[in-house]
């Protein structure tokens, strides 16, 4: 009977369990869960604050998942060391777990830059875990002034999440625009206008010079009083476990398409890894849930002796604020096709007869068709791209392709 150990208990871990069980119904599975919760969906924490979901509904899998999967979970434990030759994992409570196959699904941690006076800020939060959200919830009421450092996905979702609970939210970012990792200035400005309509204040191209208790003195000289500070500058993959035993690590853990690291028997999946972005051909940390799910499952299958690959990773995001959705995918390289009006922007990037990436703001209909064109690297010459670019539609495929897609099991 094989022994499987999974470090981490997020989406990658849950999918890893399912991957293992799709091959091996008997082996023992042990999950090391630092958080004291069953696997839940971290992106939901902002929705929780927004009252769009409740903790009971935030479980990533239905109740009884671990029992059904016959997986043991060690809550509140953390893997601290791997002995690759003995094939054991050491836990922070000193326990040693032997494994035949190990999956590192340890995710990432908030990155907190050094800022003068930060230690003296009375109420500061990161925004990553359910516990983060629960503690933030305690600190916020309608009179609370909130300063969020970081206008990226996390910072803004946090802002949206608490927007109904407080009147004063200020978001600052070193970059000159919001969502700088996925949007250019024009697109960002459209989103920004929309957020501003909902009461957010932005300080962009600016950063905290120092904190004076609960006042931030910005580089620009602006002074921001706040009651609660949220630090959402970014996250860093947790790579130490692998790195210290000589596993190949770049920004994230390096894995092959079977999700195996450079060390035999050790797999990795999710936000702690780096994968090749199919759309750009470069290695990237693609810390998005679908990636974690695919990777986790593939890792699980391979750990159990099956044969699965995941080589279609691309960056993609669907993020909505107050009903306006921005969808992005791939890389913004090559020729750009653009359609825009005051409510929406569509940009498609094409190169070498392929769709490379897109930005869709306020025009999300059937966006998955574009995404799949990027993932499948569909030659543009094989579709009616004139039609496709105006409308994401399978009607732009050849009849033969459509017949295959709609006339058969897929």
């Amino acid at each position: 009977m094989k022994k499987y150990v999974i470090a981490g208990n997020g989406a990658a871990a849950a999918n890893c369990i399912e991957g293992i069980r799709s091959i091996d119904s008997d082996g023992s599975i042990t999950v090391i869960s630092e958080e004291k919760h069953e696997a839940y969906c971290r992106p939901l924490i902002s929705y929780y604050l927004e009252n769009k979901t409740v903790p009971e509904n935030m479980g990533y899998r239905k109740d009884g998942f671990y029992q059904r999967m016959k997986a043991a979970v060690l809550y509140g434990q953390k893997a601290v060391h791997i002995h690759k030759d003995k094939k054991t994992v050491g836990l922070d409570n000193g326990e040693i777990l032997p494994y035949d196959a190990l999956c590192l699904a340890v995710g990432s941690s908030p990155f907190i830059p050094k800022m003068e006076g930060l230690d003296n800020v009375s109420r500061k939060h990161t925004f990553m875990t359910l516990d983060d959200a629960l503690s933030l919830e305690q600190d916020v009421d309608e009179n609370t002034k909130v300063l969020i450092i970081g206008a990226g996905l996390i910072g803004l979702k946090c802002a949206e999440g608490i927007s109904g609970r407080t009147k004063s939210i200020t978001v600052c970012d070193l970059a000159d625009r919001i969502l700088s990792s996925i949007l250019d200035a024009e697109c960002a400005s459209m989103m920004q206008r929309h957020l501003e309509k909902h009461g957010m204040r932005f300080l962009l191209g600016d950063s905290v010079s120092r904190f004076d208790k609960d006042t931030a003195i910005m580089k620009s000289g602006t002074i921001v009083d706040f009651d609660v500070l949220v630090l959402a500058v970014g996250v860093r993959p947790n790579t130490a476990l692998l790195k210290e035993i000589g596993g190949e690590v770049n920004r994230g853990m390096l894995v092959n398409s079977s999700m195996e690291t450079s060390i035999e028997g050790i797999y990795a999946a999710g936000d702690c890894t780096e994968s090749e972005d199919l759309s750009s051909g470069t290695g990237k940390v693609l810390a998005i849930l679908p990636n974690a799910a695919f990777q986790g499952f593939v890792a699980g299958v391979n750990m159990a002796g099956g044969n699965a690959v995941f080589d279609k990773a691309i960056p993609m995001n669907s993020i909505g604020f107050f009903g306006l959705h921005a969808m992005t995918a791939g890389t913004y390289a090559g020729k750009m096709y653009e359609e825009k009006n005051d409510r929406s922007i569509k940009r498609l990037y094409t190169e070498d007869d392929r769709l490379k990436g897109f930005v869709l703001i306020g025009c999300d209909e059937r966006a998955g068709i574009y995404t799949s064109m990027i993932r499948e690297q569909t030659p543009l010459s094989s579709v009616d791209f004139e039609l496709m670019k105006k409308n994401a539609t399978t009607a732009a495929f050849s009849r033969k392709t459509r017949t295959e897609k709609f006339g058969r099991t897929v």
């Binding site: 989406a11 209909e365 709609f406 006339g407």
Partner: protein, 145 residues
Amino acid sequence: MKRVYVDEQWCLGCHLCEYNCAFANSGLPDMVLALKGKPIYPRIHIEGHDKITYAVSCRHCEDPICVKSCIAGAISKDGEVVKIDRSRCVSCYTCILVCPYGALTPDENGVMQKCELCLENACGEPACVKGCPNRAIIYEERGEA
């Protein structure tokens, strides 16, 4: 497994499938009560271009990307049927972003919905198939691509 297949050769673009779908999933006993005077949010949609039309609904993929991508774990495979637990959906639209068929669409409240083959509504079999006047939508077992 029996799935819904479309044959664009016979699709008339009459859109009856959309109305039958919306009615079947309305939970109401009469189509007029269910649909009169309001926009419809069916789980099947006529797509097409020029003279081609065909109905698109969930393909119930063998390995559904929506299930893997759902950030709320709301979409799952129940046997062979891809289902959505709408109470868990937070309207992030990631499923829209990934579905290669455009088969998932929001309802009037932005909550995602998808074809679940009418297995659990009063129709009991896909209403779109039952009501298609030209057998352009077929519910049957077929092989893989």
